[in-house]
């Protein structure tokens, strides 16, 4: 499988400020990749270099193995781009915007209209096809931006903060749409500062901070690498510490024996064996009952804090 996106030693400076600092990254075909970082980390600048809105100061950016700077007319037909801010013609009705967009990718008028209609129907915008974008709701605007990006039938879809400023229900709706696209084989590069978004959608995430990719892997792998998860069990009757001496890993009993906190042994990130052993031991007591069970820790937020030394919101406003 080839690389849909290749970034090699990318540096982008603006007036002496280094926005992207020596980033190298390969995204294979069909992958859903997330670029996670706070505002100002360099995410938008990096993708601006991919889509032709910015020229690299140094380094190379490739789409399907073709250099973006050298052959933009070969790379741009492969890309659909959803920018962070809505950027459509203010006074044009949205069906006209989409018809023109198809034409920019070489579609004949009829084919462009047909594709626009199909996408507007699929994304629930058909009834609003003859209004200008500013008459749409926030969620509809975001969907319109995705529809426009799909008019050229892209193999690579690049989305810059696609769910910024939309409510929770609309975010979930967009996630479903993105999952459908990924299932159709589209390579997706998503930038976000919503950690749950990256975790829910992405095969791999790159954490970008101050213009550099500081960590890169599958969300689960990162969580296992950086996070210390623990099982927290609230009990109906206190447990005696000596009853737990055969449990693998480390544990502690708090709240006068009513709460048990246990971590797997060092180097083992799985909680299955530990939980099983705990259950077996606790159920030896006939009167014992479990009131509540939680698994704490172990999300990308914790990874981000571990990797950068700051929370993502703190990093956004240093």
């Amino acid at each position: 499988m080839g690389q849909a996106i290749g970034i090699y030693g990318l540096i982008k400076k603006f007036n002496g400020l280094t926005a992207v600092n020596d980033v190298s990254l390969e995204i294979p075909e069909g992958e859903f990749f997330g670029l996670l970082g706070p505002n100002g980390a360099g995410k938008t600048t990096l993708i601006s270099c991919l889509v032709g809105l910015a020229r690299p100061t140094d380094g190379r950016v490739e789409i399907d193995g073709v250099d973006v700077s050298q052959n933009p007319l070969r790379t741009k037909p492969c890309i659909g781009f959803v920018p962070q801010e809505v950027n459509v013609e203010y006074f044009f009705p949205i069906d006209r915007i989409l018809e023109f967009q198809g034409g920019y990718f070489g579609l004949p008028i009829r084919a462009s209209r047909a594709r626009a209609e199909a996408l507007l129907r699929q994304f629930g915008l058909w009834e609003r096809r003859d209004v200008q974008y500013f008459r749409l709701s926030g969620g509809m605007k975001r969907r319109l931006m995705i529809v426009r990006a799909l008019m050229g039938e892209p193999r690579v879809l690049i989305l810059d903060e696609p769910t910024a400023g939309v409510d929770v229900a609309q975010r979930r709706e967009l996630w479903d749409l993105l999952r459908q696209l990924r299932a159709q084989g589209v390579t997706i590069l998503l930038t976000t500062h919503y950690i749950d978004e990256a975790e829910a959608l992405c095969d791999r995430v790159g954490i970008i901070d101050r213009g550099q990719i500081v960590e890169l892997d599958a969300p689960r792998t990162l969580i296992h690498r950086y996070c210390s998860r623990r099982v927290v069990i609230d009990l109906a009757h206190p447990v005696a510490p000596e009853a737990l001496r055969d449990i693998p890993g480390t544990w502690e009993v708090t709240q006068n024996g009513y709460r048990l906190l246990a971590r797997p042994p060092a180097g083992d990130h799985r909680l299955g064996e530990l939980t099983e052993a705990l259950m077996r031991q606790l159920m030896c007591e006939p009167a014992q009952r479990i009131c509540d069970l939680q698994i704490e820790g172990g999300d990308l937020e914790e990874v981000f804090v571990q990797v950068t030394g700051r929370g993502i919101d703190a990093a956004a406003h240093p």
């Binding site: 603006f14 890309i79 801010e85 070489g106 004949p108």
Partner: protein, 257 residues
């Protein structure tokens, strides 16, 4: 990229430009025609009898080719400058930069849109003049070609302004303080030959003079300079301005960070 795809992309850009001004005809084409009719009313009907002929033509006949040039110049400039600045303003220009459109296609489409609107205004102005004041048109094809060349020059100037402008005010400043004085002092209402020195020589430094003098030559057969002389200036300026726009787009001037 195959040629037929390139053609479709260019045709789409051009359709977009036509759609943009065609849906606002009352703001784009109609005002120039109303202005022409007002000039005919003022200088043809009301004051015409009190102003003596110039080079054997009634005053309204003498100024009408210049009024057509006025319409061509202002519409060509307005179309490209507003199209481009509006695209920067609503950021739709960023979409253009991410789709497979070449700098040459951008420039050809923008200029063609400006030329179409400007020549439409110019031709309608001349037609009104033919019908209302019996204006003879000596070389219609040459008049048409002249309008196209003028439109290319000022559509290109509109692109430069649209790229450089930081506000709508910047565009209006160019129109009010450069174009309009240039047109009015370029001989729309008089023959430059009637001016005393040094104003005559100064007028030769105004590129708009060559546009107006030339179009008058193609319509009336009367001009201050030989047609080849104005023609050389107009063709060279059109090529130069078009090339400048192409170069600016290739560089991504004020477009690509």
């Amino acid at each position: 990229m195959p040629r037929r795809i390139r053609r479709r992309i260019l045709a789409t850009l051009l359709r977009r430009e036509i759609y943009r001004f065609a849906r606002l005809l009352k703001q784009t084409v109609v005002p120039s025609l109303v202005t022409t009719l007002l000039f005919i009313l003022v200088f043809g009907v009301s004051l015409g009898g009190h102003i003596r002929e110039i080079s054997g033509w009634s005053y309204i006949q003498y100024i009408l080719p210049g009024l057509a040039a006025l319409g061509v110049i202002t519409n060509a400039y307005a179309n490209t400058s507003t199209s481009l600045y509006a695209a920067r303003f609503d950021r739709s220009i960023e979409n253009w930069l991410t789709v497979p459109i070449s700098p040459l296609q951008f420039v050809v489409a923008l200029i063609s849109g400006g030329v179409l609107r400007a020549v439409l205004v110019g031709v309608l102005t001349i037609l009104i003049a033919v019908v209302v004041v019996d204006l003879p048109v000596q070389s219609p094809l040459l008049t048409f070609a002249w309008m196209v060349l003028m439109a290319v020059i000022f559509a290109s100037l509109g692109i430069v302004s649209g790229l450089r402008a930081e506000s709508w005010d910047s565009l209006a400043t160019m129109t009010n303080f450069v174009l309009t004085p240039g047109i009015y002092l370029g001989g729309v209402f008089y023959s430059v030959g009637m001016l005393p020195e040094p104003w005559q020589t100064i007028s030769y430094g105004n590129p708009i003079f060559y546009c107006i003098d030339g179009i008058r030559g193609t319509v009336l057969g009367t001009a201050d300079l030989p047609l080849w002389h104005s023609g050389a200036v107009v063709v060279a300026t059109a090529i130069g301005m078009f090339s400048l726009c192409w170069w600016l787009f290739q560089r991504g001037y004020r477009l690509v960070k």
